[in-house]
Amino acid sequence: MATTDQEVNELIKREYEHGFVTDIEADTFEPGLNEDVIARLSGLKKEPEWMLQWRLKAYRRWLEMDEPNWAHVGYPKVDYNSISYYSAPKRKEDMPQSLDEVDPELLRTYEKLGIPLHEREKLAGVAVDAVFDSVSVATTFKEPLAKAGVIFCSISEAIQDYPELVQKYLGTVVPHSDNFFAGLNSAVFSDGTFVYVPKGVRCPMELSTYFRINAANTGQFERTLIIADEGSYVSYLEGCTAPMRDENQLHAAVVELVALGDAQIKYSTVQNWYPGDENGKGGIFNFVTKRGACLGDSSKISWTQVETGSAVTWKYPSCILRGDNSVGEFYSVALTNNYQQADTGTKMIHLGKNTSSTIISKGISAGRSSNAYRGLVKFQPGAEGARNFTQCDSLLIGDRCGAHTFPYIESKNKSAIVEHEATTSKVSDEQMFLCRQRGIDPEQAVSMIVNGFCKEVFKELPMEFAVEAGKLLEVSLEGSVG
């Protein structure tokens, strides 16, 4: 049973609901990047000298680097001198000390996004850090976290208040020389989140950061650093949205995770940056480097991502499994529609003995979009008894989209075991007919079939996010029945 193309299109064409712009007074840098801009940025944030030197070193290295071109994406060249590298809501005084001091217009923005900071603080039991353009505007639940010894603050505060921890770990997982975008981020990152969970502490609540790009013509370069000390546990969620604008905007974040012995970090993302309109105009370029190091024995890092936004996504949350018996996991749902392009996947680098990794990737392509899984599983000589299981499934909706799988396996240890499974399927006419014959709307049917396809990944998400992710898929898919 073929639903007509028109129905398909109507379903795909749902408007991006976070596309509003907040009218707020902001301090924004003139576009352009040079050492003076970096010094000004660092000065504005009252950073210590070592931080400025760290940034300048990264900047000088970045100038010598080339933008990567191996990904299965195409986009107009970014002019890095036409971007503003800092935009912050104007504040009367310094940092707000509590939510009551945050500009009410900003709080309303977060409420519109479904993140009422006040209520979250009181009801939901999820601690939230809200990053608006270049700065962190509010962090909730600071007190109960402090009681448990957990540090949860903006990276800018951490540089001031916990310089020894920042200096010890910043750039150790993703060095500034790692890649072009990581280099750029290291030079100009403006804010982000810092988490430290002390030895043996199970973080008493989910930690969450919501990133919002608001200002036009600015890039967002956030930096997140999470350190789980021995035997600790933390679950961290991030969500992101941006206004609808005709110009592309750059988002180049770096996330570093460090898990010491027996520590566990669970990192979940629901990425819903503005994807551009149905003709592919506008949208966010999401060029992100996320990596976790399982430094200690029996440590575990688990990445779960639901990627529905952005015009172009270039993102490979990875795990370096250094400690013996350490575990890396990557669960991903990437949905592309209209003219979106995604090249995403993971790297699992096995160094320690008996390390194990699991990769479950679900790619959904609709419209004229292109969706690629790119993954590397690498076993170094010391990775005795290591193993990986990889499953890559692609689901196509309609016949104008593309799905690609680029799995790489490198093994330097004969005892290592790799299992790889891959499937490609379509939302079939028969499935649609069965659903509709039972009285179910075509739109609801597609959403149900796609949710079923993603089930293995959704079950990894914290409850609150799982519901959000399901709804997000439904919205992103509207108009995609085929």
Partner: protein, 253 residues
């Protein structure tokens, strides 16, 4: 209840149904028999609104309403149910979720409140026992890894759950062993009621020993060539289709 007049339908330009006329009243059970390729399955798909088939002329009304103007899901909500010959799998979507979504779509259409998960679970368990399916199957993916018999029982279970006005059973007996056939037939017989019609499409008469029809029609070459009562099916079993001037490569059955 259902009235089909001079129905012509084709797929990819090839005409399959060449002028079907059929009247089905509430409370009746009709059987459509005929050799392979006669258009039996096409007729059931066209009634349910499969858009692969083009209706080129003729009319279909359900209680006076023009069915051809309604989309597949609208027909379903008006009470047309098709038990599929080859039910398709929907991986990852649990039966429970699928069935509840369907039941609630129907309820919403009738202006009734949606059933909550607990209420629905109880109902679904009761009905699954009626067709001898372990309620544990409700948690499995729709038709995922089901045996042929389980799939067919699942279809009948859905009919019991959705309580349609017209249930169309497309080769519901194919691939069933004798025990499963009994279970499925009991389920269908439980569906029989004064305000419901049943249209069975079958190649073989053995199903009709369990579900006794009021009317039997022979479909050949896209037309109904003969209609009669229960005895017509028995005669077909005995004499095959040949005496009606129809070729049937499966006549040995």
């Amino acid at each position: 209840m259902l009235s089909i007049k001079n129905l012509h339908a084709s797929v990819e330009g090839k005409e399959i149904l060449k002028g079907i006329n059929l009247e089905i009243k509430a409370g009746e059970v009709h059987a459509i028999m005929g050799p392979n390729g006669s258009g039996k399955s096409t007729l059931s798909q066209v009634l349910a609104g499969n858009e692969t088939f083009d209706v080129t002329s003729g009319e279909i009304t359900l209680n006076g309403d023009n069915l051809l103007e309604l989309a597949t899901e609208e027909r379903a909500r008006e009470g047309i149910f098709l038990a599929f010959q080859y039910p398709v799998e929907i991986p990852g979507v649990s039966n429970l979720q699928f069935l509840r979504t369907a039941v609630n779509a129907m309820r919403q259409h009738r202006g009734e409140d949606e059933m909550n998960a607990a209420e629905f679970m109880k109902l679904a368990k009761d009905v699954s026992r009626q067709v001898d399916l372990d309620p544990a199957f409700l948690k499995r993916g729709v038709n995922e890894g089901f045996s042929g018999g389980e799939k067919k029982r699942n279809e009948i279970m859905q009919a019991l759950l959705l309580q349609p006005k017209l249930a169309i059973l497309d080769e519901t007996d194919s691939g069933l062993d004798i025990d499963a056939l009994k279970v499925v037939s009991d389920g269908v017989n439980a569906l029989r009621s004064e305000d419901r019609a049943i249209l069975m499409v079958t190649h073989y008469q053995r199903l009709l020993n369990h579900i006794v029809p009021d009317h039997v029609h022979v479909l050949a070459g896209g037309k109904i060539v003969k209609s009669g009562g229960r005895e017509l099916a028995l005669e077909l079993e005995e004499r095959g289709y040949g005496w009606l001037g129809i070729k049937d490569e499966d006549a040995s059955n």
